[in-house]
Structure formats: C-alpha cells, structure tokens
Symmetry: C2
Subunit: 391 residues, 2 copies
DNA sequence: TTGAAAGCGATACCAC
DNA sequence: GTGGTATCGCTTTCAA
C-alpha cells in the first residue's frame, strides 16, 4: 500500500500554467494571455498554436490567481419581490449563502426589492440593467411584460436566471423552478390515496393564464384522468392571489357543492380557503392539500386540517440560481436552460424539520460572523451552506 | 438612483489585509502572520496587539491569496462501501461535485472503497489514517467497532464526518443523515392516510441494534400510537439486510398473519419483500412503503405495488458532508455536529424526477469536461452542482 | 523575537 | 504584434 511520506508528499505537482505554455512555445506569457482571452493584437497563427498547446497539455486557469490579480469584481444583481416574504426571503437567503461561500472569488450581490410579484419588477429590472451589472437573478411575475427588457439584457451581455418559473418565451440564461406539472400530479396521487380513490375535489389556483398555475392544474387533472377514475374535479377557482377573492369564491363553491371530499390549493393563498372551510364546518372532514409553507400554515398542518403541503424549496431555488450565474460568469460554464426541482411533501410528521429552517436566525452563514481570530474555530449556530438546503 | 460610472466603479475598495495591520502597528507582515496563525517565536504582547487590531478592523484573510501562496494541498479522504452502489455511488458523486467546485482552493479527494457496509471499513479507515490525510468522510457500518480508530483520528487531528448515520457514541466532527425518527413517523402518517386509519402493518427492518433502524421503527410506532389508534403493527421482521432472510421471514409472517393491510420496509432490502408479497398474491391489495430508490424499485412504484418510497438523498448527504469538512479545514468553521436531512417522499407521479438524476451519465460535473479554450463557453449536458441535489 | 524578500499564477500595463 | 514587468495578499524562508 502506497503510504506517502510525510513532508514533501503534500506539495502538489503543479498543473501546467500559462508560463509553461509560453516557455515551450518560446513566447511570452503576455502573448499566451492574449490568445487565451481572445484579446486584440495577436497574430492569428500564434493564437492557434497557443490554443492548441493549451488544449493538449490540459491547461486550466488558476482561479485563485486570476481573482487575486484582476482587481475587478463580479457584481450579480438579485431582484426579488418583498411579498410573499416567506418565500422570497428564503430565495434571497439561499442566494446569499452560496454567494458567501464564493466570496473568495470576488462575487458581490447587489440586491433590489419591489413590493410584490409583478408590481415594480419592470422598474427594478431597468434599474439593475442601468447599474452595470454582470449577471442577474430575477423572479418574473409577468414574463410577457419583461420581454423587451430581457432582450436588452441579452444585448448588453448580461445573463439572467429566472427563479420560481420556467418563464417560457422570454430570453434568459436559465430558469429554476419546481416542476409544476409533477407538483400537480403529485397532489393528484396523494389525493387519490388519501381519499381511497373516491370523491370530488375543488382546486383553488391563482390565474390560469399564468403558466405555472396552468401546469399544476393540468398535472393534477392528468393524474386524476389517467389513474383515479373515481376522483373528479368539482370546481376550479381562480383567486388571483387575493385573500378576499379566495375566501368569497370558496364559500360560494362549497355551499353550492355539498359533496366535496378534497381541496387542492395550488398557490400560497391557502389561508382564506381554509377559513372558508372552517366557516362551513368542513375543515375536519375534507382532505386539504396546499402549496408552500409559512408560519400561519403550521398550526393547520399540526391539527390535521391540512393533510399535506407542497413545499417549493425557495432556499434551494436561490442556491441553484446563483450557482448557475456564478459558474457562467466565473468559470464560463453554461448551465442547463431549465432546472426543475422536485417538490417536497410536508406533512405533520416532518413539519418541524422544515420549520426549523425558517426561523429568522437560521440563516446559516457562519462566514458572516465577522472578524475573528482565525485560529479560533467558530461553531456556527446553524447549519452550513448545503445543509440548509432541506428548508 | 445611484447609477455607478462604468469603468472605475467595479474595482473593489480593498478590505484590510495583513499589510495594513503591519503598517498601523509599525511591525512587519511576517510578525502579523505569526500572530494570526499562532506560530512560534513571537512576543506574547505583540501577538495580542495584532489580534486585537485584526479584530477591530475586521480582518478577513484573502483565501485566494492564501491558496496561491501556500503550496500545500488539502487532502480529504473518502471511505465508502461499494455496496449498496445505488446509494453510495451517489454519495460519492455528491462529494466529488462539491470538491470539484472548490478545486480552486486546492482540495483533493482521496477515495477508498471496501466491499460492503461494515465489511472492510476498519482496514480502510486505518489505511486512510496512515495516509497523512487532512480530513475524512466515512459511512460507518458498525460505529462501535470503529471507536478506537476514531479516537486515533481525533488524536492525529484529523476531523471525520460520518454520513448516513448519526453515529452517536463515537468521536467525530459531524454526522450527516436523514432524520430517521422523522422518516419513521412520516411513513406512519402516510400509512395512516393511505389506509384510511385502519389496519395492521408489517415492518421489515435490518437489525434493531443498529441505531438508525431502531429510530425508524420507534418513529413509526410513535406516530401510530399517538395519532392512529386504528393502526397497529402486526409484526416486526429483522432481515439483517439479507435478501434470502427477508424473503423467507416475510413469507412466513404473511402466511400466518392474514389480515395485513400494509408493509413498511425501512431499509433498502425491499425487493425480496415485494417478491414475497407477490408470491402470496397480496402485492396488489397491500399498501407497501419502502425506503431508498434504485432501478429495480422503479417498476414496482410505476405499477403501484409500492405506494411510496422514502428517499434518503445520498447525493445531498455527500455534498453536505464534504462541505462540512471543507469549511472546517479551509475556513476554520466548525459545522453543526448533527445534520439531519428531511427525507423525500417518492411516488409514481414524481418518480421520474428522481430517476433522471440516477442515470450514470448525469453526474453533473461540467467542470470535469477537461481542457478547453476558456473563451468558448461549454453547455454542460446536465445540471450544475446544487441542481443535482434533488436526486 | 523580528524584518525583509522571494515566490504563487494570473492580469494589466508599459515599451518596443 | 509581442515581450517584459509590476501587482494582487498571502505563506515561507532566511537573515538579523
């Protein structure tokens, strides 16, 4: 067994650098640099020679050295709505967490917020694009309205990653979202199992013109149609993410449809729906499955009034989005254009695992602890980077 | 609105470095370095002065510079069993993925494997400790047998992170695992809902002396006891992760217990159990919930014979484990001692999202693509780092 | 016990 | 077009 000797063994045999390339080619490192970076003022022929040699020796730039020498910083814009905070605050935290772990590569996050999804997002995007930024993470509320600005970003060479939507039809580097169709059919399957295969279900959504909402309904309907002949949709309620509207419409529907066995709320707007159920004294008898997770929902899950909720993993969405931008900017790796996460099923028995991650103090950023003598290890109060991803 | 000017704005105002500290204190950077790193040969008084100033100015080392100048490399040992491959291969991939993304900080993975959980792990651990390694990730099969070696690791100053167990009672830096108790009660809750609150369930486990297995059973039993009065445990079968044993014992139990409504297999040993059910012509009528996910299980989920399986997220476990070691070694951040992941529920409707991640070609390591001219962006065939975490 | 200086591997200039 | 060289912030070594 090859037991390495203590001292010298841990020096690394250094990989080929630009200096080696320069030497073997008998040119200067400046020229190599020019070739590698497509910089102007270099002979086509030498450029090719350099590129080829780089290829064969397997040259890979030393990112530490690059960051150290180039004094410019990478600035990544993050535009998110303030509402719904329980979701987007976690997206932001996920982003900050990853950003943090790459701080030594000189990335900085420039954060902008606006009132709500689709409200002020155009202005914020415009502002960000004016702000000489290298990359951008956004949560498009109304993708179609953003299209022109997205084209502008493209022209400016600013890569944009969209979270919480697959934003088809607008230009972007990548999207990150929960698989909406899978989300819908997952609820269909849970509903089928929970109801023993029989019953009629009311679906409460936002508005069906939103791709995401449409896909969830379609997924749900497909699952029911293909696998659960005894299950049907009693009604589809569009509540437009409005509390009052959700409450009123649900009351009406429930009153006029007595034999409802289940309710599926496919947006975060579940509280008023549950209130309507309560008012009809139905919340115990009905099987309710909701979407997202926030403090007000916890007691409803605890009590069993909500059988399950579909968690859309905002923290992880943020992580992935930032990761994509970072790798693209720093390492020139183009991410997959569409990143679909698997939704999580949260029920009473695993609820606490998720709530723990939602405490405001659990932002999981030991590195932010600030100045400390390096020799003293700091035990961080919460979970490090990836660990938080469960939230 | 503060629109920054184009060119100069993106230079960063540099944070305080050891040079600044040296200057304001009127000493040399060498001395500052000695103070910051507790190196021998420095006056106690100056040391304190440096440390204090560092504290007040908020000194944070530039990791890029550190890595660049220190020519030593960090070597992290990874010891994993070859069986069960569907699980541990993914743990390894998760580790490699993170390692990859930190390659520019000079971490290297030294991989060792041995036949199966608990078989050869002592030798492998010994070998790793002999191999002058800086940190270690292991998957302890029999923690109690490893105790002396773990103590040795501790003495040698080698931090160890354990995956797939919370390995109580042995020394380690941290553990990463699915929350076994939550896993058990989650199955209890699913069972309760699926069976409509009535029926008797057979539990198939490995061996109850294994903490992890015990906790799952306890979680399951607790959930049933507290919330599902109509549900009971018909029998608990210890199959010791042996296929034949599982099959035989299950056959017997099922034959002698006619009124079984559900089966819970709390280890990956579910195939023989399902075969036993099939042989008794019960697989359709029973509600089966299993653990882990591997190719052979997919058709059983597809067909509905397995209602759900609890996915233990090997990929993420690997990521978190390596991340913990890395942060500890490089950034001196001590991770939380226990990292409990929330288990995922996989059913027919979201199965494909998980299977996609299990294809052997989907290792998600664009950076490994090898030498390429940097100016040419590479579109990676699969998902970048964090994205794969859903698998 | 301390100071001074030589790298690490890239970028960004200058001069030719 | 190309070569040379200062520079980034730190570690390391040698000299005082």
């Amino acid at each position: 067994m090859p037991r390495r000797r203590k001292a010298e063994a841990r020096k690394r045999t250094k990989p080929p650098g630009i200096r080696e390339i320069a030497e073997t080619l008998g040119i200067s490192i400046g020229t190599v640099d020019r070739a590698l970076h497509d910089r102007p003022g270099i002979n086509k022929a030498t450029r090719t020679r350099v590129l080829e040699l780089a290829q064969t020796v397997g040259y890979r730039p030393n990112l530490a050295a690059r960051f150290l020498s180039s004094r410019k910083q990478c600035r990544v814009g993050v535009n998110l709505p303030r509402e719904i905070a329980s979701f987007f605050d976690l997206v932001r935290d996920g982003i900050l967490d990853v950003a943090q772990s790459f701080e030594s590569s000189g990335v900085r996050v420039v954060y902008r917020s606006y009132p709500r999804l689709g409200q002020g997002e155009i202005e914020a995007l415009e502002e960000a694009l004016d702000d000489d930024i290298d990359g951008l993470v956004i949560a498009p509320g109304r993708p179609e309205h953003l299209a022109p600005l997205m084209r502008r970003a493209m022209r400016q060479g600013v890569p944009v990653v969209c979270v919480n939507t697959d934003a088809p039809g607008i230009e972007h580097l990548a999207t990150v979202s929960v698989d909406a169709a899978a989300s819908g059919s997952l609820v269909g399957e849970l509903m089928g199992r929970f109801l023993g295969g029989n019953g009629r279900v009311v679906v409460v959504t936002g508005q069906l013109s939103t791709v995401d909402h449409r896909q969830k309904l379609d997924g749900f309907r497909k699952e029911l149609g293909e696998r659960w002949p005894g299950l049907g949709i009693a009604a589809v309620v569009e509540a437009h993410d409005d509390e009052r509207e959700a409450y009123e419409k649900c009351r009406q529907v429930l009153a006029s449809t007595p034999d409802v066995a289940g309710v599926y709320v496919s947006t975060a707007n579940s509280i008023p729906v549950m209130r309507a159920l309560d008012d009809q004294r139905m919340s115990g008898r009905l099987t309710a499955i909701t979407t997202d997770l926030f403090p007000a929902l916890a007691p409803l899950i605890e009590s069993g009034k909500v059988a399950a909720t579909i968690y859309q993993r905002p923290w992880v969405q943020g992580q992935i989005a930032f990761q994509a931008i970072y790798k693209f900017l720093v390492q020139r790796v183009t991410p997959p254009p569409v990143n679909k996460l698997s939704p999580h099923v949260v029920m009473r028995s695993n609820l606490k695992l998720f709530l723990e991650r939602m405490r405001p103090d659990a932002t999981g950023s030991p590195g932010r602890a600030g100045p400390r003598p390096e020799t003293r290890a700091a035990r961080s109060g919460s979970v490090a980077t990836f660990a938080d991803e469960i939230g």
